[in-house]
Structures are given as C-alpha cells and as structure tokens.
Symmetry: C2
Amino acid sequence: MTRLFFLFTFLIGSFYASADDGYRLWLKYDLLKNANVRAQYQPFTLYIAHAATDPVTSTAAKELQTGLQGLLGKSIRLQSTASTAPGGISLELTTTPQPNLGTEGYSITTQNTRVKISANTPSGLLYGAFALLRKIQTATPLSKIPETSVPRVQLRMLNHWDNTNGSIERGYAGASLWKWYELPETVDPRYRDYARANASIGINAVVLNNVNASARFMSREYLLKVKAIADVFKPYGIKVYLSVNFAAPRILGKLKNSDPLEPAVRQWWVDKASEIYGIMPDFGGFLVKANSEGEPGPQDFGRTHADGANMLAEALAPFKGIVIWRAFVYKADPKGDRFKAAYEEFKSLDGTFLPNVVVQVKNGPIDFQPREPFSPLFGAMPKTPLAMEFQITQEYLGFSTNLVYLAPLFKECLDSDTYVKGAGSTVAKVIDGSLHQYPISVMAGVANTGSDRNWCGHLMSQSNWYAFGRLAWDHQLSSSAIADEWIKMTLTQDAGAVKTILAMMERSREVYVDFTTPLGLHHIMGQGIHFGPEPWLERSARPDWTSIYYHRADSIGLGFDRGINGSNALGLYHPEAIKQWSQVDACPLPYLLWFHHVPWGKKLNTGRSLWDELCTRYYTGSTAVGTMQREWAGLKGKMDAEIHADVLGRLGAQQREALWWRDACVLYFQQYSKMPIPAPFTPPSRTLEEIKELVRIYQFR
Amino acid sequence: MTRLFFLFTFLIGSFYASADDGYRLWLKYDLLKNANVRAQYQPFTLYIAHAATDPVTSTAAKELQTGLQGLLGKSIRLQSTASTAPGGISLELTTTPQPNLGTEGYSITTQNTRVKISANTPSGLLYGAFALLRKIQTATPLSKIPETSVPRVQLRMLNHWDNTNGSIERGYAGASLWKWYELPETVDPRYRDYARANASIGINAVVLNNVNASARFMSREYLLKVKAIADVFKPYGIKVYLSVNFAAPRILGKLKNSDPLEPAVRQWWVDKASEIYGIMPDFGGFLVKANSEGEPGPQDFGRTHADGANMLAEALAPFKGIVIWRAFVYKADPKGDRFKAAYEEFKSLDGTFLPNVVVQVKNGPIDFQPREPFSPLFGAMPKTPLAMEFQITQEYLGFSTNLVYLAPLFKECLDSDTYVKGAGSTVAKVIDGSLHQYPISVMAGVANTGSDRNWCGHLMSQSNWYAFGRLAWDHQLSSSAIADEWIKMTLTQDAGAVKTILAMMERSREVYVDFTTPLGLHHIMGQGIHFGPEPWLERSARPDWTSIYYHRADSIGLGFDRGINGSNALGLYHPEAIKQWSQVDACPLPYLLWFHHVPWGKKLNTGRSLWDELCTRYYTGSTAVGTMQREWAGLKGKMDAEIHADVLGRLGAQQREALWWRDACVLYFQQYSKMPIPAPFTPPSRTLEEIKELVRIYQFR
C-alpha cells in the first residue's frame, strides 16, 4: 500500500510520466474499456497453471498473469502444478511431440471454460501465451480464441548494427541498447523489456553487434559481457549470435594472417568456438560480412566465400552453432552493374557450403532501396539455405521523421515469384525452406531499436519491428491484418481511428516511393544523408556510390538499361520472371526505370509521357504527406495526447522533406528533359541551386 | 478519474515504471514521510500568488505548486494577482531594484505565516521558488527558511559537446538530447525537463553544440531548429548559445577565406548576427574553439586570437551578444611543455579584447586530469574576463562506471590562490569578476547529460551536474553541504545512509586519483579509451598525446621536471605560488610529479620511498573501491531498489577497472624502478603483457 501510494504521488506529484511515452510498445495491457468484452474472458480467470518448471514456461505464465491483470483488472492466481479444473488457463507441454505443432508452434483450445495452451516445447507455450494475450488485448470474441499456429521460419532474427562505442550504423533512435562499458556487472533492466517485446512477436534470435564487426567481441572480456545479456534473453526463448571480424585470428590472436586454409587459423577458430560455448552453451552462431565494403575476408588470401564460411562452420558444428554468411558484396567497377555482383560471386558456390552455413541475401539486388525487384539470388541457390535480410531501420526510407509502414515492402518481396521450380516458387517459399527443403531457415531484419524512450524514434516505426516479427513467424499474414493488430494494441481501438490509421499506414510506403524514387528510380539519395535527395551526385569514393551511376539521365531519357542491350542483369532471373520486366511497354511502372532507359516523351500506360508521369508522382506524393498530416490532426482525442503530438510533429518534418525531394528531383531532371512542369502543378518556387545548398548544409560534419 | 485510473492500471498492469529509473533527478517531490515535518509547512499552503505575468514568473509559481503538491500531498491554489493575505506564498518583483538582490538573487522571508519571495527580476523569483522547494524537500525547519542569496557568477553555463549526428564527444550517457533531424517540427518534451533541472540549480546559459563545431549551426535551416529549443528554455530563464566554426564564412558563405581582417568576412558575420537575432532576440552568443586540435582559426591567416574574437564581438555587440573564446590551445612540440602553451599564446593578448569577449580557460594547464594545479592563466589576465571551464562529464574520471564526486575537484581549483593581487587572490575571485572587476563573469561546465533514462549514465554522476550548478551560483558552498542536499533530494533521507553516502562521495575523487594517477602523475590513460591505463604509450599522432611525454619514467625516477632546470612551467606562476611547489621536499605530494622528476628511492614525508608510496597509493586506492562496494551493499533497503542495484553494479565495474589501473601501473613503472612491490601488498597475479593485451582489446574499433 505504501508502495502504491508512493507511485501514485510520483505520478501526480511531478511533471513526468503522466503521458504515454511509447516505452511500452504494443504491450500496453491497459484495462479493456468495454465491460462486456472483459466479462467474456472472466470464465477462465481463476488460475494460470503450469507443471513445467523451466524458465521459459515460467515466463509464459508470468506474462499471462501480468497481462491479464492489466487487461481485465483482476489478479489471477499462478499455480506451478498442472490443473484440469475448469475456470483457468493451463500451459501444457505435450507428452509425445505433436507433429502439427512443430518445434515452436502452439495450439490454444477452449474446453469447459478451461483454456489450454499446448506446445511441444516451452518456447511454444511462451508464444501461445503471447498469442492469447494479443487476442484478448484486441478484444477478440471468445469463439475466435482457439488457434493453432506454427512458425514458418526457424530463426526469426534481429541484426543489430550496433558498435562498441554505443553508436548504431543506420540507427535513428538514439544510442545502442547495449551498454558494453557497464557490462557484465551492471545489467540494464531494459534488456529484459527488449527480450519481452521480441518474444511477444516470435523473434528468437538476436545478433548483438554490427556486421562491420569489432574483433573485441571474440575476446574473453567481451564474451563475458555478451553472456550477461544472453542470460537475460534466455527465459524469453532468445539466443544470442555475434557478428565476427574475419581477421580476428590476426587482430586478436596475433597470428600472421587469417587465411581460412591455414591450420593455425582454423585451430584458432576451433579453440575460440570451444571457449565461447564454455561460456554460453546456448550460443547461436556467427554472422559474417566478408570482403564487402572494405571488411576482411577469405578473398584477401585468394580463397572463396565458401572456404571462409566452411572454416567457421566446422568450428561451430560440434556445438550445433551456425554460420550466416552475407551475400552483400560488390566490386567498385564503373563499367559493371552492381545489380549483378552478389549473384556473380555466389551462384557458382551453390552446393559447396557445409550444412550449418546459411547465406544471407538482402531483399533486393542493390541496398534496401524504397523499392527493389527481388534479388536474383533467391532463384539461384537451391542447394544452399538462403536467409532473407530485410532492413527494419529506415536507412533509405526517411530515418525516424517519416511515417512508412514496411510490411507492404516485405510482403512484395516475399510474394515475388522466382519461378525457380515453376510458377508459385515465391521468395517466401525459398527462404522458409519449403521449396528446396533447406535444413535451416532464417529471416533477419536489421533492427530499428535504440535507446530513445520509445525505442524506434518515430512511434509509428514500432509497427515495422512488430510487422517484421509477425511476418517472420508467418509470411502469409496480410500487411493490413498485422497493422490492424498493431494499431489496436498500440494506439487506439476507436473503430474510425483504426480505419483512418490503417489506410494511412497501408499507403505510406507508396507515398514515400512517389516523392523520392518513383517509377523505379533508385539510389539517388544524399551521400551521407540518406534521408535527403542528391540526384546530382557525380563523384564519390566509388562510382557505384554516386547517383548518376543509377539514374542515367541524359538528353534522351532516364533509367538504367538492364536488358539484353544493357547490363543484362535481367538475364540473371528465370525466363518467366524476365518476361514481366523485359518489354518497356509491358513492364509494370514501379520497376520501369530499374530495367529500361526510357525516353522523356515516351507515352506510358497512364496516358502521360514519362516526364509528365514523373512530375505527377513527385507532386502527388508530396501532396499526400499533407493529407496524412491533416488526417492525423483529425485523430486528436482518439489516442494519448503526447503520442498524437509527437507523430503530428514528425509528419510536419516529413512534409518539409517531401517538398525537398520533389523540388530537387523535378528541377534536376528537368535539366535533361527540357520539358515544363505539367499542369496543374506549380513549378517549385526555389531554384535547384538553393536546394543543392540545403543538401550541402546537411553534409557538413 | 478515468485518467488516474488509467495511470494506476498502467503501473500495476505492466512490468514497467514500478521502480525509480532516475529520470526525475533531484526533483523528486515525493511526499515527505514525516507528518510532523509536513505539518510545519501547512500554515502557508492556502495559495501561491504572483502579480507578474511574464513566463518566467509563471514557471516559478507552477513549479511551486507542482513541487508542494508532491511534497505535502496537498493541492495549492494558484492566484495570478498579488496577495498579502496570511497563509500563502507570494512571488513579488521589487518595485525599485534592491541592490542586495543583484540581477538574479532572491530573498525569502516569512512574516505572519506568509512566505514572500522577492527579487528584482522574474529569474530571481524562479530561483527563489526552487530554493524554497529545496528547503522543504530536505525537511528544513521553518526557522531556517528565510534566506537571501545572490549568484556570484553571472553566466552559469553548460557546454554540450554534442554533434549533429546525435553523438556526444566524451559523452557516456547515450546519445545527444537534441534531436536535430526532428526539429523544429517535433519538440521532445524532455527539453523542458532538462531546462527545469538546470533552472532548479541556477544554470542560465547553455551552449547546445560541440566546440568542434559544425558550420551547419550558422545556416538558417539549423537556426530555426535552435530557436525551437530556445523557446522551450526561455520560461526557465535560460539563454541559448552556439559554438561556431571559425571557417563558416568560407564553408557556409562560400567566401574565399575566413580571414578576420577581410571586410567581406567581417560583413558576413555582421549579417549572420543580424539574421540570428532576427530569429532569436534572446540569443546569448558564441563559443569558439579556434586554432586548437585542428580547428580553423585566425592564425590560419596570420592573425591573432584577439583579431578573431574581436571580429565576432563586433558583430554581436549591437545585440548585446558575447563571445567566449577558448584558451585551450597547444602546439605539437616534442621539446616543449604543453603546460605552458595556453599561457604563452594568451598572456600577451591581455587588454586587447573588446569588452564583450570572455576567454574561457580549463581549470588546469593540461586537460581535465583527475588532478591538476590551477592554470597559470588565472593569475595572468587582469584586463580580460576569464571564464572557468570545468568538465562535468568524466572523460578522465572513469566515464559512467566510476563513482567520482567532482565538487572537491572544482573547489580545489576555485580555492587555489593565484596571488595575482597578493594573498587571497583565489581563482574563484578571478573568475567571479570581483578581483579585477570584470564586466562579465562565466563559469562553464562540459555537460554529462545524454539520452540515457537517468540522464548521466551513472546515477551518482547526477551529483556532479547538481554540484556544478550550485557552485556556479555560490562557490563558497562546501562540497559536503552540496552533497548532503543532493543525497537527501535524490536518494534517501535516512540519517545513517546519508552519512555513509556523503563520506563515500567526499573521498571518491581521492580514491580515483590514487588508483589512476597518484602523487601528481597525469595523462597516462589509454589512447582513445580514457577510462583505462596506458602508461606505456610511446607513439601517437602528436608527442603530447603519449604517456611517456608526461610521466618521464627512467632508471633514475619519475615525474616531469617543470622547475628552473626543467621546462620552467613553474615560472608562469606568481612567486608566492611557485614557492609552494618549487622545492621537492616541500612540495605537497598531490602535486609532486607534476613539477619534479623524483628518484625512485627518494624518501617522502610519509616515511616511504617514492616507489613504495606509489605502490601504496595504487593498492590502497583499488582496495578503497572494494570498501565502497561493501558500504553501498549495506545500504540495501534504504533507497529505491533499482537505483541501489544499478549503482552497486557500477561499483563492481569500477573495482575491475581499479585493479586494471593498479596492475598496469605498478608493473609498468617497476620496469624502471627495478624495485619489489612492498609489503604487505601482493604483486599482481597477471603479467604486464596480459594487461597490455586487455588495453589493446579496448582499442579495436
């Protein structure tokens, strides 16, 4: 009572904490407002029972207790023995494995006012518990509570690009969550809250450090720090992985090199694996960025990616650890086409990797652009497990000032057809392992979390973390169903507001594409400031880091000819896939300039010329941001005031940025098209030089 | 009611927020536990009245209302008209200025159960309100409520070394508080909480950006972002300042150079000042790091620091803005003594600066070491206002893993006697302007704040922010009185616990000195990892960034001879000051190796040889950390459990680091002394090579 009184005075006695700061994410568990809705769940609120004594099952039970306490306003008894009495919820491990539940699946059944969550493993029980809570939190009718669900992908993984100094490469939500200097003695309570959020959406694997990896992480000093985090994650069913620096044997071990065929090097990794698993028996494995953007790798010694990956795989195999080897490689070749680089390096290695190696491929062939065709590698490696690498953090999608819901982007790639085994060979079926019977399946997302109080900078970006987890669990879920859940858990259950927000989220990615890179434009963002425009970028440290390399604007037209008379990157796809893109007249407009150099005056199927269509996209895209602003403003009173104000402010910033992109791009490309801004649009009131100056300012250190 | 119910369920319905996360700093305003104590304040809780309608006075009244609501558990009426009725608190501006209250001072009087806060300005009322709250929060008896207090220094300033990308140079508490990408549209509510904390300790000036300044801040784009922050600070009596890049006229303005005697350059700054004040009429002025560590400056064009400062001062003068020009300059000279550099560059410029220029000097001659003698410049510039620059962030004092209370360090410098106008010419009297009648007085502290929930990383480091503010207001306060206030406001009012914590804080800085740089050692920390040891550092980009440059260990002895036969840096002080340090036998031990190269076997006044004394300090210093750990562990139950656990964890990390320093230093110096570790101490169980390896690990990217 004193404690509660203290908390009470804390709230009313200070400026703080009286508004929702977004820290609780989608796990709000506020009392359900509708008493009738609450009442329907009353029949099973006598107890929560579980006979299993492992930490993960205990977590499941405690999460249920905490969540229901909030949602129903009722304290429910925890009982650490089995119960079949009516009126409660029981968590039950199967006595013999049920094939329909897989390793981590669950079933929720209701019988005689008892709710039973069954699973083959404690992790399954945990996911079942969170599923039940989600259903109650979204006020699901009792009849829709029963459900059986099994994850389609084994490793549902976040990749953190977090550095030892607390910075995050492509992080827009503050500093790293991991406080290396304080660890292992000080364990931030936030680590648990992070694990909890992940478990609630099925994420079961986390790579803690940047793929541009410090060798520090292979030292005992750091492994003990990592262990302290792993210990917090374990009761939430999450395994820790580390990115490794391929040169660690030289840097840390002081060997003369890191050649993967050198016995001393191989032994160093064998010993290191043994040390790691001595410290953390549940350690997951390694993620490796090698011979990419200056990182060390096996090619430094004339060896192949497979030589490198297999050496590490051999060291980890005795402990059932895995190696995730990234395919994000490209050489600086002004005459080449970066689009083809990963394919050309990896295709020929198919079938040469050890069984505990997975090759991780970015969704598109370039680099997480607002829209890309799927990477041709997804149709080219039937004998090698391929992992999907999505980017949740909005490196090229407006940082944390832009409202962009990414599930449609993720789905677009997953639903693409590779045709590798005929029609219906979707990317999703490749990476979930079902098409080629891969022994391991992985979906990874580059995390958007940071130390900002609301975790993701933009509150609406929490939906991207959420959607990634849900899609990694089940890529058949629709992006709107996921958004609907998320909105109801995070923002509001007001039906009108849910509808408005849902529509806004669903179109947000197209809006972003329209005002930045419509019609298949790509990689024309600012150098160093990826959230702003710089189509005029002509010189960089590498030719394939400029903008002109990609847009190829000239007096004739715009776009990168990747057909048979161009780079023929198209030729990397299966014939049926090629067909959809190869004819300029038939190519869907979202991909047009990815594959064709199109004349400015060319009439498109919209009835407009390329130039007019381009301008139309830039103008309507930036106008749509204003519409989102107005719609959001109209939601005042339908959600927490602080959250409402924060998102509204960011929509204002997005509006400023959208006009920046629009003006930059139409004025820049107009130099080549020599055509007027079409009616009814008003030409920008500022000059291209003024816009360039603004971009220049953002590039001062 | 719904709102409160929501909050209530929020608290009990989730894992979060049930413990104290340190966000509220010293402004906790929890209900005073002792009902008798509360009762004594009841007679003046009928109303809070103020006739003034300005925003600062309104803030004062609202702060009083909020604070007393929490402390006394009673809602007090706000009344925006004057009142002389008994039973309340009134905030009254003087009708004619009272000289004894200065510009920002206040008096609190009690008469007929009315409490009156008077001041000549709204800021004075705000400080008076916070003073009254502080007294009540620390349960001060009614008889001790009356007080008159006037700040001794005009500008009590924080310097943020925050970068545009959100990183903080020498920041150990997460990312920057300032979210430049979201501004000006999104205004983080935390900006107000920050302003409030500063106002509560009298800080009235803030430099938002790093002295290694980006030219971005002089662009209109960024000035509008700065204005959004300035608008939040204004009702708290805080003015915003900016660090400027001296080359801005070239970088941003595209002029051919930034020569301060070039008319176009001068005009650029005149125009820029006019633009800035058009946007922010209350803008404070510029802070400049020029010709220091690679930053641009007037010397690039053969001009002096005065030429540069005066150009800017002329531009700001019409708006009453000031220029704060840093004296932290040193040339890379392997034969020189960095100790002398600032003096040699600035002494001769005394009297050549315009009246709105202040020269800001770091407390010591090198760079914020755990202990330094005061900078000789403090005794050398009678005609130029000198600002004090302290470092609150613990760059060389253990980052955010070490408990080090800095008030004793600040006081030690402030109380040092320069003898510039005879005995009693303390540094404090120089910088508060009383000794030389400076027209402007400034005390600046390099901030230790960041986005970490508890602001400072180490909860105990909040005391350093607090102490800096209190000492900038009144350098005559004792460090123990300040700590006593802070503990009672932040941690506990349990008398025994207060005593234990106070003692721990008071000795913490000596403990840190002992296990890192005892007896006047300095600058032997790791390169790039300033929290660890690297006395063996021999090569760096500059000779004066190595360790051997400073400790000068050889077969004969240890220390830097700065006497007449050495660099004669001692000669920069006044004769009376020199006297205390010049004789090796009389030199106080804390400064011994700052000024003397002392033979290993030299008997010190402790009765031990230099070598034995050195070892004794390293061993007893690291042992003292273990004692602190035990003492802190014994405080369990006397404060919030989360805070207790967090600090205890950090003391564990500090213990690990202390042993690292001890072993590194005794083993390294032993190579020169060739003497055994004296009894009763046990030689380190690890080798110097092992320690070096550990340091090496922390230097991998």
